[in-house]
């Protein structure tokens, strides 16, 4: 069994294929970054503008937030990569429990009876 020294610097360059993949990846990430900037600005403008009624603005910015979070998770944090089944399971379970907690603390604290 060969002994590997984990503290030794890794040598060499990545393969052509990896290089190509990384190039593609960084392009995707710049595009998604620009898109995130765009939807963030949209959300701020929606609230800042007096022309847009609140009844539309609130669900709209919540939707934009959800889109942006999904983009962060899947493009920046690579939850769409290979071997991320368990990661997806745990993050979505966490989001599920968190959503129920938020719903309970908004609705069921005895102020309005349901």
């Amino acid at each position: 069994m060969a002994h590997v020294d984990p503290s030794a610097p890794l040598e060499g360059r990545p393969s052509k294929e990896t290089e190509r993949k990384l190039k593609r990846e960084s392009r995707t990430q710049i595009v998604s970054f620009v898109f995130m900037i765009f939807i963030t600005s949209t959300a701020f403008l929606t609230i800042a503008s007096d022309a847009i009624p609140t009844g539309f603005a609130i669900p709209f910015i919540l939707l934009l937030a959800a889109v942006q979070v999904v983009m962060q998770l899947y493009y920046f944090m690579h939850m769409n990569g290979k071997g991320t089944g368990w990661v997806n399971a745990m993050i979505w379970s966490g989001l599920f429990v968190a959503a129920m907690t938020v719903a309970a603390l908004m609705l069921l604290i005895g102020i309005v009876k349901y």
Partner: protein
């Protein structure tokens, strides 16, 4: 990097610095047993106070403190650590791993638990233990005078952090470290229940962390979360507590289900009936555990629709639990049953737990719940599920795995006395409490009046508690006198799973060669279809092991110092403690420690000695 075994260390230093999952498991187990005895003693003191009407054996304040500490200690410092002991010791062996995924964090988790437990119990000596019950409802807890509840908050915060780390460690160990051939659907049921339990820990404990944080901010830093005069809301605490608290009770019962599955299948000499149904039932129970927390709050006033939804969801849990009960019964059906102590506990569990389940469905009926709420009926119900389920599971596991953990077998004769005494005492104590509750006796009250027909049943209940206390002493004696039973400890029960393929006591590296798993019940498959020994999945080679470390104790110590700083509101102490913790964490990050290798020669040498 060091490639040779470290020099021999003193025994104490070895245990303080160990990152070996087996030693950590034993420490969890022994610490849990100690706290179990302490909390049991607290219960007996309370039962003496309730033996006769209007007794003055304990003051009311002391009674409240005992009540709080009994519940808190039993759940956080006794039952969970005892299960963690088994999980740490057994799960890596059952999946054919040499170690857990994060040995350092495993050790840190243990020390955080222990220091949290110590913080909590120091309160006895510094002017009064917490007195707002284990649920610590606000405003009772936020307005409780003295420092008792502060100890509750900080003790649970520290030990809770440890529990969360252990949970993540088990999850990653089970996902990443399984031996070749050990697919998820070949894992023993105890490993499966550890997996689901760890998921519950991962998602439930953060809610407690936040609840405790808010309570700390309110009590010590002047926050207004629960202060109605400042716009606060007291129901928020109940939600946060039960979003944690309900999964917590499944954290306590699922490992016991796992143990019973192992024990019943081994002692019926049959493969577990309906393995995949058992796995899915465990998963469904875990999922439903997060959907039903508000059934603890039916009388809060959430409204009829909310109550109805949570009532129906609660009753739904009876379905997967029923699946499990029937599968255990069908495993026993036609089996060659051996009535060992471990199996006796498993057999006694089935009817006892079903009784607790039936009262659970009664309590879930939200309209009737208004009548049962806060009476001894509730006390009877949860003791039937926690003792009849979790504690019986712990005792079954103790007798089942003791030879593997400690290298000797507990006496079956003494064990049977222990079992019968405990079983009779348990039913005597708690069966009558159903009727006390229906007759209107409120829980958590230090006394009751004469002439209300409560005298006889309370007296019987206290006698039962003495039986259980005596039984526990028999267990301790058994542990001490059985030390000579060291023969036939490798595989004393004709085991089915991988932990019985190792030597007792288990080698530091568990398996000289990683085993190749060919079917469910891996060892029993080899006994039937092979030569009775596990096939190796790799050639014999050097084994890489992690080095021990003293740093976990310092991280836990720093947090404990900071906790005392919070309790007595002293910024220098808080900052000093946090500096110790963060500096030690930084050391851990900066010092690269790649462990050491055990050379082949040493492994074959040791192997030669054993066989």
């Amino acid at each position: 990097m060091a490639n040779s075994s470290p020099a021999k260390k003193s025994v104490l230093w070895d245990w303080l610095t160990t990152v070996d999952h087996k030693k950590i498991g034993i420490m969890y187990f022994l610490a849990g047993l100690f706290f179990f005895a302490v909390a049991g003693l607290e219960a007996i003191l309370m039962r003496i106070q309730l033996m006769f009407p209007e007794m003055s054996f304990l003051g009311e304040q002391t009674y409240n403190e005992l009540l709080t500490m009994h519940g808190t200690t039993m759940l956080f410092l006794a039952a969970m650590p005892l299960f963690f002991g088994f999980m740490n010791f057994v799960v890596p062996l059952q999946i054919g791993a040499r170690d857990v995924a994060f040995p350092f964090i495993n050790s840190l988790g243990f020390w955080l638990f222990l220091f949290g437990g110590i913080i909590l119990n120091v309160s006895w000596f510094t002017g009064g233990a917490p007195d707002a019950a284990w649920t610590s409802y606000v405003p009772l807890s936020s307005d409780s005078p003295g420092h008792g509840v502060d100890y509750y908050v900080m003790g649970l915060q520290v030990s809770g952090a440890g529990t969360l780390m252990s949970g993540i460690n088990f999850l990653v160990t089970i996902v990443n470290m399984r031996a070749p051939g050990m697919s998820m659907m070949r894992m023993p049921l105890f490993t499966w229940s550890t997996f689901v339990t760890s998921m519950l820990i991962l998602f439930a404990f953060p809610a407690l962390t936040v609840g405790l944080l808010l309570l700390m901010l309110d009590r010590i830093f002047g926050g207004a979360f629960f202060d109605v005069a400042m716009g606060g809301n007291v129901v928020i605490w109940q939600h946060l507590f039960w979003i944690f608290g309900h999964p917590e009770v499944y954290i306590l019962i699922l490992p016991a289900f796992g143990i019973f599955s192992e024990v019943i299948s081994t002692f019926a000499k049959k493969r577990l009936f309906g393995y995949s149904a058992m796995v899915f039932a465990t998963l469904i129970i875990g999922f439903l555990g997060f959907m039903v927390w508000a059934h603890h709050m039916f009388t809060v006033g959430m409204g009829p629709v909310a109550n109805a939804i949570f009532a129906v969801a609660t009753m739904a849990i009876a379905v997967p639990t029923g699946i499990k009960i029937f599968n255990w019964l069908l495993t026993l059906w036609g089996g060659r049953i051996r009535f060992t102590v471990a199996n006796l506990f498993a057999l006694a569990f089935i009817p006892s737990f079903v009784m607790g389940g039936v009262t659970g469905v009664m309590l879930a009926t939200s309209a009737a719940n208004y009548q049962f709420h806060d009476t001894y009926f509730v006390v009877a119900h949860f003791h039937y599920v926690i003792i009849g389920g979790s504690v019986f599971g712990i005792f079954a596991g103790t007798f089942y795995w003791w030879p593997k953990m400690f290298g000797y077998r507990l006496s079956e004769a003494w064990g049977k006395w222990f079992f019968w005494l405990f079983l009779i005492g348990f039913h005597m104590t708690f069966f009558v409490q159903h009727f006390l509750g229906l007759m209107g006796m409120p829980r958590r009250v230090a006394s009751y009046l004469d002439g209300q027909n409560l005298n006889d049943l309370n007296f019987i209940s206290t006698m039962g508690a003495f039986f259980m206390g005596t039984a526990f002493i028999l267990l301790v004696i058994n542990v001490l006198i059985s030390r000579k039973n060291t023969e036939n400890t490798d595989d004393p029960w004709d085991g089915r799973t991988l932990e019985w393929a190792t030597t007792s006591p288990v080698q530091e590296y568990n398996f000289a060669q990683t085993p190749l798993v060919r079917d469910l019940d891996a060892l029993f498959y080899e006994k039937m279809n092979g030569d009775g020994r596990m096939k190796a999945a790799e050639p014999l080679g050097d084994i890489h092991m992690p080095n021990g470390s003293i740093l976990p104790i310092f991280i836990a110590l720093g947090l404990s110092i900071a906790s005392f700083g919070v309790i007595y509101y002293s910024w220098p102490v808080i900052i000093g403690g946090l500096v110790v913790t963060f500096f030690t964490m930084m050391l851990r990050s900066v010092i690269e420690d790649h462990g050491y290798n055990i050379p082949v020669s040493e492994i074959t040498g040791e192997k030669g000695e054993d066989k």
